[in-house]
């Protein structure tokens, strides 16, 4: 379990952990981007890191808790619209926007989870999809914020009064810091009593019930936690694109988040981040090769699902475990 490496940084074998390599690569990335001609790399990397955070949060539900939420993009939307609406009201500091986004996401996750988690299997998947769609249509009807067309942000958010995020490099490192903090937090949580119970619920809910614990509560709390972290990703993503629209929370986006987690290997947290990077890189590279790149991407996904052992992080089998 990933939880076994909760104190990765303290372990003498910490350098062998893939997450350390992954984050080290992220930290160093601006150096070649700085000297390279292509400044676009930094913007792409910020986008990828933010979605990596979203995929990471989904992995808590999917990989640890076996909750296949098909509406996770709704939380990206909650985060993004928190930025748009609060900035419009004059609150453009992350120290306001992030707590509000987390609060709204928690309430939404709590209410929808209360309904969805009563259902199981396919019914759970479909009800999360329905709640995601509900929020999508709500955003579409917000004519004050551009409705379907969305709204361009006047400026990026401030951080504790400073204009750190105004520079691309500042935004990148703030986003990366959020990802690393979320990873460390989730890694701790997975190794904690709460995480152990959540994992046990995945393996056998009935036995968990038999020892006197209520699976519903653990799943609900996991949903709230995952939704909150994903909302933070939405806040950062909105700052990266400087634009907010209902397209943040289409059901296809929710599907892509699932694809990222499954592709990267579920339940190991860093796998979700790696999956996000690989998926987005494919989306970035393929269009340069052929106009019909979506056919190639689609075929790759089908092959990945059909073929066992094709998951990315199985390449790293034995590492970090």
């Amino acid at each position: 379990m990933t939880g076994g490496t909760a104190a990765a940084a303290n372990s003498s074998r910490a350098w062998r952990h893939p997450a350390v390599w992954l984050f080290a690569a992220f930290l160093a990335l601006p150096i070649p981007a700085h000297f390279g001609a292509n400044a676009y790399i930094l913007s792409f990397a910020t986008h990828a890191v933010a979605l990596g955070l979203a995929a990471l949060s989904l992995d808590l539900m999917l990989g640890i808790g076996a909750l296949a939420s098909f509406g996770h993009a709704a939380y990206l939307g909650i985060g993004a619209y928190s930025v748009a609406i609060l900035s419009d009201m004059g609150h453009d500091d992350l120290l306001v926007q992030i707590p509000v986004a987390i609060a709204v996401a928690s309430v939404f996750a709590g209410i929808t989870g209360f309904v969805s988690l009563r259902a199981s299997g396919v019914y759970y998947i479909m009800s999360t999809l329905a709640f995601g769609q509900m929020l999508y249509f709500l955003a579409q009807s917000l004519s004050a914020y551009g409705g379907d067309d969305g709204v361009t942000l006047a400026a990026r958010s401030r951080l504790a009064g400073s204009h750190l995020l105004a520079s691309d490099l500042g935004l990148y490192y703030v986003t990366l810091a959020a990802l690393i903090a979320a990873y460390v937090l989730l890694d701790r949580i997975v190794g904690s009593r709460f995480g152990r119970v959540l994992g046990a619920v995945r393996q056998n809910p009935m036995r968990v019930r038999a020892v006197g614990l209520d699976p519903f509560r653990y799943r609900l709390l996991a949903s709230i936690l995952a939704g909150s972290l994903c909302a933070v990703a939405g806040v950062l993503l909105a700052n990266q694109s400087e634009f907010v629209s209902p397209a943040f929370m289409t059901w296809q986006r929710s599907g892509e988040l699932l694809v990222m987690v499954v592709l990267g290997g579920m339940g190991r947290l860093w796998g979700a981040v790696l999956g996000a990077i690989c998926f987005l890189t494919l989306e970035e590279v393929l269009p340069g090769l052929t106009d019909n790149w979506k056919m190639v991407l689609g075929a790759l996904l089908i092959l990945a699902a059909l073929g066992r052992g094709s998951r990315l992080s199985q390449l790293f089998k034995g590492v970090g475990r």
């Binding site: 009563r118 396919v122 009800s127 329905a130 509900m134 249509f137 579920m266 790149w293 059909l306």
Partner: protein
């Protein structure tokens, strides 16, 4: 609100309802019998519409085009079953979602590649074009009425096929006790294949039927797919009867909510507020309905007993 406007909206709602039923019928069986999440059912509807557009143009006749579309849609469904789906039965739901999500990307782009991004139109058959007097001061297009009738006839046929034929009995048995059916000597794999192909054909038929009144374009199945999921979850997965009732509920609620929601709210609040709230609330109504149904009955209105 006038009576004729209400009648028009009810007819529109019924039309959406029967369309949803045609798509949901196959999907709910695939879900119920094979426990398979098929996200690609919406693109099969799209493929049906494209096939109809192509064949109608080739033959110059809507009826000939429709006749050609059905077997090709069936063959296409069977091809997908052989190439992809049968390898995923009994696998994790996530593998099924991943593969069928990939299939959506693939087919949406494939139709763009084959037929271009421009929306295609399909000529309406002459005999069903024009409109007729439904009641005083209300004319309604014949084709749309025919669509409702065709949907209801197909629903009746499906009801008879599922409840009163041998294959229908096997499907019903397969949806609750597939291991037992296989143990009794029925080739369950072939049964699955039949169900799958038939579901794909129904979705394709739905696409061909609406092709003359909608524009045929890439991605046309994506949003309908979600509505179809709402239908089968409300109706209870695996239940044709549930799918039928839920499809009509969803079709009517969605259409009437959008048409009359703001007016009804105006009774309780100011006109401007009612307009904004109504426009926000109307598209959400069916999802609220689904949430309420799931809250009261977590396995839908007509659950298939396992």
């Amino acid at each position: 609100m006038s009576v004729s406007l209400l009648v028009v909206q009810i007819l529109n709602g019924l039309q959406l309802g029967v369309l949803l039923f045609l798509i949901a019928a196959g999907l709910t069986l695939v879900f119920g019998v094979m426990d398979f999440i098929n996200l690609a059912h919406g693109v099969q509807y799209m493929v049906g519409a494209y096939l109809a557009a192509m064949f109608v143009t080739w033959t110059g006749s809507y009826w000939l085009g429709l006749t050609l579309t059905l077997p090709v849609a069936l063959a296409f469904g069977l091809l997908l079953e052989v190439l992809i789906f049968r390898r995923l039965y009994g696998r994790d739901h996530l593998d099924q979602m991943l593969a069928t999500f990939g299939l959506i990307l693939f087919l949406n782009q494939a139709v763009r590649f084959l037929w271009g991004s421009e929306p295609l139109g399909v000529a309406m058959p002459d005999i069903l074009s024009g409109s007729i007097q439904v009641m005083d001061g209300l004319r309604y297009p014949v084709y749309r009425l025919a669509l409702i009738v065709a949907g209801l006839v197909i629903a009746l046929g499906l009801h008879l096929a599922i409840n009163h034929t041998r294959i229908g009995m096997l499907i019903r048995a397969g949806s609750t006790h597939s291991d037992m059916v296989a143990a009794l000597g029925v080739n369950i794999r072939r049964l699955f294949m039949v169900v799958f192909g038939f579901g794909a054909m129904l979705a394709g038929l739905a696409g061909a039927l609406v092709a003359p009144i909608l524009s045929v374009e890439p991605g046309m199945g994506d949003n309908l797919l979600i509505l179809t999921f709402v239908v089968i979850v409300i109706g209870g997965i695996g239940s044709i009867r549930g799918a039928f009732i839920a499809a009509l509920m969803v079709g009517l609620l969605d259409t009437l909510g959008r048409a009359f929601g703001p007016q009804l709210l105006r009774l309780a609040m100011s006109a401007a507020a009612a307009n904004q709230t109504g426009r926000s609330l109307a598209p959400m109504l069916i999802y609220i309905l689904m949430a309420v149904v799931l809250f009261v009955r977590p396995t839908g209105l007509f659950p298939v007993k396992k």
